[in-house]
Symmetry: C2
Subunit: 141 residues, 2 copies
DNA sequence: ATGGTTGCAAACACTTTGCACATGA
DNA sequence: TCATGTGCAAAGTGTTTGCAACCAT
């Protein structure tokens, strides 16, 4: 019974990827943290787990994950990419311009708008990204 | 009467920037085109106008324009920035994943959502970005 | 005249790639 | 075993910066 500890091997097997330490750790990161991570954050996290990984490897991992549909690549106007789990649908981010914190926001209804776009413009929406920039509660004091 | 030809000197004066050929041409580009431009597009456009400009100069111009509030810097998950006029409020983009074309989309009502965010999370929204990815009409044949 | 702007080169940050070695199944 | 994954180094993009020369006002 090796499955009592959930270590993401299942998810990796499902998409025909080998379960290497770095991949397992990164999957765990994404399942634990709700904040989209950039490559440096992942390297730092792995280092804490005593896993040393080259940036090139991390880039390869997140790119593979994204191709396989495990993760999603997003950009928050920072000059770099971030990555997050792809399975949560229709959620957005509140990005604090003061402290840089990123908060998740779920349940926004853009479906109507997408139908509207289809009708008015003939454009077939596959996905969307919605980000809010502003000042978070604790930075307002 | 040198103002019969609108050459954007007014906008530049308003924000205390000198009216150089490159700046004037870039302002004209933005006023004419509705598609957000990246730096390479601006260089190509200037070249057509017989204005040779260094990438560094273009980056400096769009950064200055953005600081002064003339333009806005956006990212469409491409690994680079694009720039567009800042004066159009509340508009979004339809990005075709087949042909790469970017179409503007106006009149979306996110105000309610922003009020909701303020109420529920205490997060004070200053701006947002909303992009739709999909397949445009002419790519569906 | 003079301070803002530009060109050029160099540096920087992020990301990708080639290849030899290592490793998971 | 052997296809897949990784480390390292190099290269590829996009972007910024220092400084001398240039030009708009």
């Amino acid at each position: 019974m090796r499955n009592n500890i959930h270590d993401c091997r299942g998810e990796l097997n499902d998409v025909k990827l080998r379960a290497t330490p770095a991949r397992i750790a990164i999957m765990k990161y994404f399942e634990r943290e709700d904040k989209p991570a950039d490559v440096q954050m992942l390297i730092d996290y792995l280092k804490k787990q005593k896993i040393n990984a080259d940036p090139a490897t991390i880039f390869r991992i997140v790119n593979t994950f994204t191709e396989k549909g495990l993760t999603r690549q997003i950009s928050l106007n920072e000059g770099k990419y971030r990555y997050e789990l792809a399975d949560k649908h229709d959620h957005h981010h509140l990005i604090c311009e003061a402290c840089g914190n990123i908060e998740d926001m779920t349940d926004c209804n853009i479906d109507d708008l997408e139908k509207d776009i289809k009708k008015k413009k003939g454009f077939n929406v596959k996905s969307h990204s919605l980000e809010f920039f502003g000042i978070c509660k604790s930075c307002q004091h």
